[in-house]
Symmetry: C2
Subunit: 256 residues, 2 copies
DNA sequence: TTGAAGTGTTTCTTTTAGTGGAACGAATGG
DNA sequence: CCATTCGTTCCACTAAAAGAAACACTTCAA
């Protein structure tokens, strides 16, 4: 009856869930359900986290991330090798386009991306998202990455089980996706409408490491109402300039 | 010969060490030494972390924090319930005093503090520190907390084994410390010179939760050369105003 | 060229503590 | 007041964590 035993994995899964999904306190059974694990195991994992001071239990026996957990986050965030390097370029892109600009990091292991830095525009209406891992097949930022990967990796991504329909505009057919990717490569950047968030136009371009490997993508998000066709060219030009400036800076001394 | 078995604890210790002490890559034996644990155990812990994607192993078999680890930090930091609440007051204190202002959170379990938010002054010379847990017996921020704790807790702190001499100015004699604390209580804030960092004057005042318990302290750090005696009063006044404004804001609806 | 001293990793037996279904006692609520 | 939740404890079972030692590999000096 003995199932696979990986206490560390279980506890980290709980921690990760609390970090990603959370803002508040949760009961054992609630967490257990999310983990898809027996209550006892989750309870034990929570106790381990409790002992390490990463979660706290309040008066009504519900669990929350602890101050120490937040401290670790606060200590880690500024050390992130990415933020400091990409922030100037994100700022520049936002200033030049007048819209919300951001930089997505590509993870060659997960074959996913996440937004590492973002600069909101001054407009009252801006786009918010929550900075978790995102797929490559949907949205300008993802497609700007996917389209410039090598053939083998592209095939791997297209074959992944989580080619999900994020919105009604998401392309999930491999053939159509390949066609779209071809168009992206031809232009040098990706333009999508509401593929990831309904009502949002995205323009994204790849950022390469000087050694040639794909690092991430810079992108701009614009509410559909505010976007006009004629804005595409100048925005894309500005974005591409930022991307190559980024690569150049990396070339001038940074051993990533 | 079987020692205590706590795989989760070991792995978290390694992770924490990497987060706190690190900016770079480390070998197994190096980490093992820092952990004060057998190489094998550390190796296993690293493998667990590796499997969870929290660390990565580079070509020369050295270990570093992974992108995913940084992502967790980036995801966690902005969610910190502290930053968003205290940031406005830190900004105000910095603006009013013209110096670097910060807010320290008091942890009633660890009986330590750490800096949750900081606003640098515009001067060329500013104070930097690294945001880990700090003791209460040294520096204005710590003393502003220690002095306003209840008698029993104070005794516990003074009896702790880590009453360390941070600089030559640190007071470590319990009797002298009590005298200093008495003075702090009388004034309502703490002024220290170089107790934590040589050449830095600190002025700190306690922040209370509306329900009366001690939350943290706001403090200002000034390079000694730039500090004049006559500046103490206005800075302290500004600080105390910020602190009570903070408490008032908490009273107006925040269920900390 | 050799070998001493590093490194990270694997092997191995012992034994602890993780596993999870079931039972428990305290809240909660219709 | 019983039914249903909750978090927690109990328990036999056994997988995996422990850690000394051997291993494979690189480095570097003699």
């Amino acid at each position: 009856m003995g199932e696979l035993r990986r206490p560390f994995s279980k506890a980290i899964a709980v921690l990760r869930w609390l970090v990603d999904a959370s803002h508040g306190s949760y009961g054992v059974r609630e967490i257990s359900a999310a983990m898809n694990a027996p209550v006892t195991t989750t309870h034990r994992a929570l106790n381990a986290l409790l002992q390490e001071g990463l979660v706290v239990k309040n008066d009504s026996n519900r669990y929350t991330l602890s101050l120490e957990a937040y401290r670790l986050g606060l200590a880690l965030a500024p050390k992130s090798p990415w933020r400091e390097v990409c922030m100037p370029f994100v700022r520049r892109a936002s200033r030049e386009t007048g819209e919300t600009a951001a930089f997505s990091i590509f993870d060659p292991v997960r074959l996913q991306r996440f937004t590492a830095a973002r600069m909101e525009s001054d407009h009252a209406v801006t786009i918010v998202d929550r900075g978790y891992w995102k797929p490559l097949h949907a949205g300008a930022s993802g497609l700007a990455l996917l389209s410039f990967l090598d053939e083998a990796t592209q095939a791997e991504v297209l074959g992944m089980p989580n080619i999900s329909r994020e919105t009604t505009q998401t392309i999930i057919d491999p053939i159509e996706l390949r066609k779209k990717m071809e168009a992206v490569r031809a232009k040098g950047y990706a333009v999508t409408r509401g593929q990831l968030i309904a009502g949002v136009v995205g323009i994204g371009a790849p950022v390469f490491h000087p050694d040639g490997r794909l690092l991430g993508s810079m992108y701009v998000s614009i509410p559909e109402q505010r976007f006009a066709e004629r804005r595409e060219d100048p925005i894309a030009a500005s974005l591409l300039a930022c991307c190559s400036a980024f690569t150049n800076q990396l070339a001038r001394g940074w051993t990533g």
